[in-house]
């Protein structure tokens, strides 16, 4: 087994040193980003279905793809601003500005929940229900799935807000929970921009 010696030579070198814990770094954000790619593909599937329905399946008479634009546009701005405020919270955490971080997080959460309130208001003012026609079903499925994401994100922000209090586990030395929630929030925000373009503007 001559061909093994080069490899085993490496191994016996290693054996002499005794095992030291290897530091592989923190790959949790990378893992989360990969998960968000998967999550984004779910939305991509929904959007593809919606666009195909729209191109191929005629709606029953009386139904239309037109939607009221004012409220969703305000909602879009609310979400965009919330991404900005979340970014400010992260910057404050990195400077160890606990009070600033917590303030920006609360503002972000408030913006997120007011988005949900706006979404609810829109749902109640729409002239169609879930099973009225193909467009109605697709509209509620996609916005509902996105709303579920916003709800989860809002809860995450509140948890991070609690954890980032003075003496909490989220601080400049351990920013991961905040960074993860922030990445997720930007993703949900970005999905909404695409959704707004496809469902409302197109």
């Amino acid at each position: 087994m001559t061909s093994l010696t080069s490899s085993t030579g490496e191994l016996s070198d290693g054996l002499d040193q005794h095992s030291s814990p290897e530091h592989h770094g923190d790959h949790r954000l990378f893992g989360l980003a990969t998960f968000l790619v998967a999550d984004g593909m779910t939305f991509a599937g929904f959007f593809a279905a919606y666009l195909t329905f729209r191109a191929v399946n005629p709606l029953p008479t009386g139904a239309s793809y037109e939607l009221e634009l004012l409220l969703p546009t305000i909602n879009t701005l609310v979400l965009l601003i919330s991404s900005f405020t979340f970014h400010r919270a992260g910057a404050a955490l990195r400077r160890s500005d606990t009070a600033g971080c917590q303030r920006w997080l609360l503002i972000t959460a408030a913006l997120g929940f007011s988005f949900l309130a706006g979404q609810m208001k829109e749902y109640f003012s729409l002239p169609f229900g879930l099973t009225d026609n193909l467009f109605a079903s697709t509209f509620y499925a996609i916005t509902g799935f996105h709303g579920l994401h916003v709800t989860l994100g809002g809860l995450m922000i509140l948890i991070v807000w609690w954890q980032s209090r003075t003496g909490g586990r989220v601080n400049a030395g351990n920013p991961f929970p905040l960074e993860a929630a922030e990445l997720y929030w930007h993703f949900v925000d970005g999905i909404w921009v695409v959704l707004y373009g496809i469902l409302y503007l197109l």
């Binding site: 001559t2 061909s3 080069s6 070198d13 099973t131 193909l134």
Partner: protein, 560 residues
């Protein structure tokens, strides 16, 4: 063999249970999880095999006499779902991936060990849920594809349980995929370059990319389907203004890549086994890598070749025919690379090698019928006939399951420290190979002559050929017995294997058998030439990491 590692007492301070109990625990050790996947998957394989036995028994006669028609539909739905989602996908990805990938990248464990355990423990409940649906309210009857409107009009309870179960299994698969991508890209030992990784790493990277990109689309689609069933929305229901063909597009956007999710890891595993038992470097390393990535890319844009009879417009047929035919190129490259690896090698015809060669033969046959099926005129003739059933089983059984058995024969000594019995293994191979070909080769003939798939009753002219096929299925069932006896008895009485019975060079063999909890005592070895067989170490240039250099050297060595 200079490599001897004395058994060192287990490091204390771990909350993980020891002994056999850890295989029933929420263990975060990648090797334990790998074996959990393997054993769990094999139990479901026995269930799926029993269901296949029921199908072949029913088809002994042209009339529906063994099973009521509805039960037949439930049985074929369960057979497909169990075999795909609970046996092949978890075993070629989860079992071997978890066991081998951390070794191959030189890591102590996967990137996210707890997520890994979660991914495994989603599988048994999902599988039991699926099987229990048969006893609760009757299982789903719409096949593993669950096409609407059939899946909307058949009994709802079984279909909803089917959807829930597949969603859980899809989630498990996605978590596993994320873990593999992070482990392969981020956890490599310092000094180990991507192009030095064993081929199975590349296969798992490609597979995991497919899992992450396509599985979520199936999940979203099944949620919409469940709305159609429960809330009476009309996404896929033409009676309510919906579009059933959109379901097919979304379903096959996952389920065509799913074929590669089942077969790419098998490509990787066979690329590990052949060089070891042929004592030659893997031929064409670089082309293998690019072929895998080409298959990943092409695999995402060929799904509509399953839908040539679904009213697809001519441009779509043209595009998907061409794209599908292109896949034959990277697949052919891999096939010839395996043959070239064997060419002039010092071949040990043991069970692992026999099953690998069986894979090559079966897979090339399934591949050729696959190219034929990509052609629209031919596909329309045999669509939804037994020709497709034959083709499909040549890929997933003749291809992947043969590789699973080859892998078990190859890595059993590593996992248990004991060798499997060779004569029993060769008997297992002989019965499986004859039984498999006897069972599935005649199905091509049935399909060409017009016997539709998924039916319990058929034209009496096909009776004899169906009986031949059923005899083949019986042989396959019998072939499981020597395997089970071998695996169980050898665990206690098998000959001691030593750490590296095959004199292999890949990193999992450079530690004790079975390996210690964190894979190596001391630092992980840096293996830059995982296929450096037949080459004197002095001739190996450590900078010669490109596949071209490696196979040129192997070539010289074998000829002179």
């Amino acid at each position: 063999m200079t490599l001897t590692l004395s058994p060192v007492p287990h490091p204390t301070g771990s909350l993980q249970p020891q002994g056999w109990l850890r295989y029933l625990s929420f263990s975060t050790d990648h090797k334990v999880i790998g074996l959990q996947y393997l054993v769990c998957g094999f139990l479901f394989y026995l269930v799926g095999g029993a269901l296949a036995g029921a199908i072949r028994t029913e088809l002994l006669t042209p009339i529906s006499d063994f099973l009521p028609r509805e039960t037949y539909n439930e049985v074929l739905t369960l057979h497909g779902t169990v075999m795909i989602f609970l046996w092949i996908v978890p075993v070629v990805n989860g079992a071997f991936g978890n066991y081998l990938i951390p070794f191959y990248v030189g890591a102590r464990d996967m990137a996210f060990p707890r997520l890994n355990a979660v991914a495994f423990w989603l599988i048994p409940p999902a599988g039991l849920l699926l099987i229990s649906s048969y006893f609760i309210a009757g299982a789903a009857q719409s096949g593993w594809t669950a096409y609407p409107p059939l899946s909307i009009t058949t009994p709802a309870t079984g279909q909803i349980i089917w959807i829930l179960s597949v969603l859980l299994l899809g989630g498990s698969s996605i978590f596993g995929g994320i873990n593999f991508i992070a482990t392969i890209l981020k956890l490599r030992r310092p000094g180990l370059k991507l192009m030095q990784l064993p081929m199975y790493c590349w296969a798992m990277l490609g597979t995991s990319i497919l899992v992450v990109l396509s599985t979520p689309v199936l999940a979203g689609t099944l949620v919409l389907l469940s709305f159609d069933i429960i809330a009476h929305t009309g996404f896929f229901n033409p009676a309510l203004g919906g579009n059933a063909v959109v379901y097919q597009h979304l379903f096959w956007f996952y389920s065509h890549p799913a074929v590669y999710i089942m077969v790419l890891p098998a490509f990787g595993l066979v690329s590990e086994i052949l060089p070891v038992h042929a004592r030659k470097p893997l031929f064409g390393y670089t082309t293998m890598v690019y072929s895998i990535m080409a298959i990943v890319f092409l695999g995402l844009i060929v799904w509509a070749h399953h839908m040539f009879t679904s009213g697809t417009p001519p441009w779509m047929r043209l595009f998907f025919t061409i794209a599908t035919s292109f896949i034959a190129v990277p697949t052919g490259i891999k096939f010839f690379n395996w043959l070239a690896t064997l060419w002039g090698g010092k071949i040990a015809l043991n069970s692992a090698m026999l099953f690998s060669c069986g894979f090559i033969i079966n897979f090339v046959f399934g591949g050729i019928t696959g190219v034929a099926l990509a052609q629209v005129p031919f596909d329309i003739h045999v669509h939804d006939t037994y020709f497709v059933v034959g083709h499909f089983h040549y890929i997933v059984y003749g291809g992947t399951v043969f590789v699973i058995f080859a892998s078990i024969y190859h890595w059993y000594p590593k996992v248990t420290g004991r060798l499997l019995n060779e004569p029993l293994g060769q008997l297992h191979f002989l019965l499986t190979f004859i039984g498999f070909n006897l069972c599935f080769a005649p199905q091509h003939w049935m399909g060409l002559n017009g016997m539709p798939r998924r039916v319990a009753e058929y034209d009496p002219q096909f009776a004899l050929i169906n009986q031949v096929s059923s005899v083949g299925a019986l042989l396959m069932a019998i072939s499981t017995l020597p395997f089970l006896v071998n695996v169980v008895l050898s665990a206690f009485r098998g000959a001691a294997a030593g750490d590296n019975p095959w004199n292999a060079l890949t990193p999992e063999w450079l530690t004790s058998s079975p390996p210690p909890v964190e894979n190596w005592k001391g630092e992980a070895p840096l293996v830059q030439e995982p296929y450096g067989y037949g080459v004197h170490p002095g001739e190996l240039s450590l900078s010669a990491s490109s596949g071209r250099d490696i196979w040129t050297m192997g070539d010289l060595d074998s000829r002179r």
